[in-house]
């Protein structure tokens, strides 16, 4: 069971984790990303490519489900304006055993960062700037490539 959601609404962790626990696996793993205040960020704005975003996330979730035989995968990404401390992204997986759940969860967040069409803009006072690509994110995504 795959659940994909791109939303302006807050992420309800308890509800999402309970949903994964009902999938019938013996292990649930999750990752939650929070807005950092990185040197005085007051607002983080998330733009995305409507129409392509859901499909990009669903493709990654299907790849994870297939590669680790998941019972369930959930990917939720917020868009719009957020403030430091708010949840921006949630990835959760359910599998028979912990290693599959943990690896699939890491795969999903690593690949989401390079494969899904989202862009971050940070605002500090009067200064608004788009966040640049990070090489470390590309390396993290590359480690999931199969030989």
């Amino acid at each position: 069971m795959i659940r994909i959601l791109v939303t302006e609404a807050a992420i309800d962790l308890a509800a999402e984790l309970e949903g994964l626990e009902r999938a019938g696996g013996g292990a649930v793993a999750s990752f939650t990303g929070l807005v950092r205040d990185d040197g005085g960020v007051e607002e983080l704005f998330l733009e995305h490519y409507p129409g392509a975003t859901d499909e990009a996330l669903a493709k990654l979730a299907a790849e994870a489900e297939n590669r680790w035989s998941l019972a369930a995968a959930t990917v939720i990404h917020r868009v719009g304006a957020m403030t430091p401390g708010e949840r921006i992204v949630f990835v959760g997986t359910a599998a028979a055993h912990r290693s599959a759940a943990l690896d699939a969860c890491a795969f999903l967040i690593d690949r989401l960062k390079t494969d899904a069409p989202f862009w971050k803009r940070e605002t500090r006072g009067q200064d608004a700037r788009w966040v640049g690509e990070r090489e470390s994110d590309r390396h993290a995504a590359d480690r999931w490539k199969r030989p």
Binding site: I109, P117, W130
Partner: protein, 86 residues
């Protein structure tokens, strides 16, 4: 070629000043890189946003593609910076 929907995101959208337009590139524009050059020649915000191709990524009909990808038959082409979600 026929008219195509062009979408711009993040600072590409802000520099150009719009997020969406319809355009009809001339027949000799065969790939995404050619489209970028054709648009940049309009000058102003286009030239500013599209000057450096190493900073640009693209999607044709909502699939990420390299800049040498063909645009023949495309209905929607998006130009944007490297993604930074998560």
């Amino acid at each position: 070629m026929a008219a195509v929907d062009l979408l711009y995101f993040a600072w590409v959208r802000e520099s150009i000043g719009i997020g969406h337009e319809r355009a009809t590139p001339p027949a000799e524009v065969a790939d995404v890189a050619g489209l970028i050059d054709w648009l940049a020649a309009r000058g102003g915000g286009y030239a500013e946003a599209l000057a450096d191709k190493t900073r640009l990524r693209a999607a044709v009909d909502q699939l990420f593609v390299p800049l040498d990808a063909s645009i023949a038959g495309a209905r929607e082409i998006a130009l944007f910076p490297p993604v930074t979600g998560g």
